[in-house]
Assembly symmetry: C2
Homo-oligomer: 131 residues x 2
């Protein structure tokens, strides 16, 4: 079994590729994160989006803490096979700040996104600050 | 003038951030490439999408060769300011293979995208192969 067989994705020197999550229904781009071969395998197996956290150096299931999971509808690769697109059904909001999308701000700082939950009620920030 | 003033973007150790180009009208995700501070400045100045080519190690205006430019409608940053979203009006196709989007294939290799031009008539492949 070759690497090509198990994964048609060209992972970078750190074993990662960027993955875009897009709301399959509205088309809204929700977030950009990184995926390892293991994260991609877990995503395929479970039908829920998994990523690799570079800061935590760990496999990460989106929504494992918040409940704001992403059900996979389709996975695409780009022409060079070095970027991935997850088409998802997003439960709650994708962004830890409470917005539906992490891209809730224009580059001039004007907020254009929709806030869909209060992060204070979802995340245990004390735990986050301790770790 | 501080770096924060000239750019609210958290560029990585190589001076780049990933940038997603999305069709502003259809919502289709067109491509993922990388942007340097200079590329972002040129994008803002010209209203046309610029990127940084890691393989060519050079600033790159999308469509400079093919004519398939991207007119910027809006630029967004994500919550961590380490990814950018270009909302664009795409002339022709975003992908050098002739598809409207670089994400024209599912990960199981089934083609789902729309081919909108013949790359043989657009690119001088001999020149590409020589460089």
């Amino acid at each position: 079994m070759t690497a090509d067989h198990t994964s048609p994705v060209n992972f970078n020197e750190n074993g990662l590729v960027p993955a875009i999550a897009q709301d399959a229904e509205s088309g809204e781009v929700l977030m950009l994160a990184y995926v390892s071969a293991e994260a991609l395998d877990r995503t395929k197996e479970t039908g829920r989006a998994h990523y690799y956290s570079r800061s935590q150096e760990a496999l990460w299931e989106k929504g494992a803490t918040s409940g704001h999971t992403q059900r996979i509808e389709e996975i695409r690769v780009d022409c060079d096979r070095d970027a991935i697109l997850y088409l998802v059904e997003q439960t709650g909001g994708a962004c830890h700040t409470g917005y539906h999308s992490c891209f809730f701000r224009r580059i001039d700082d004007e907020t254009v996104g929709e806030k869909v939950f209060d992060p204070e009620t979802v995340y245990d920030w004390d735990r986050w600050l301790r770790t």
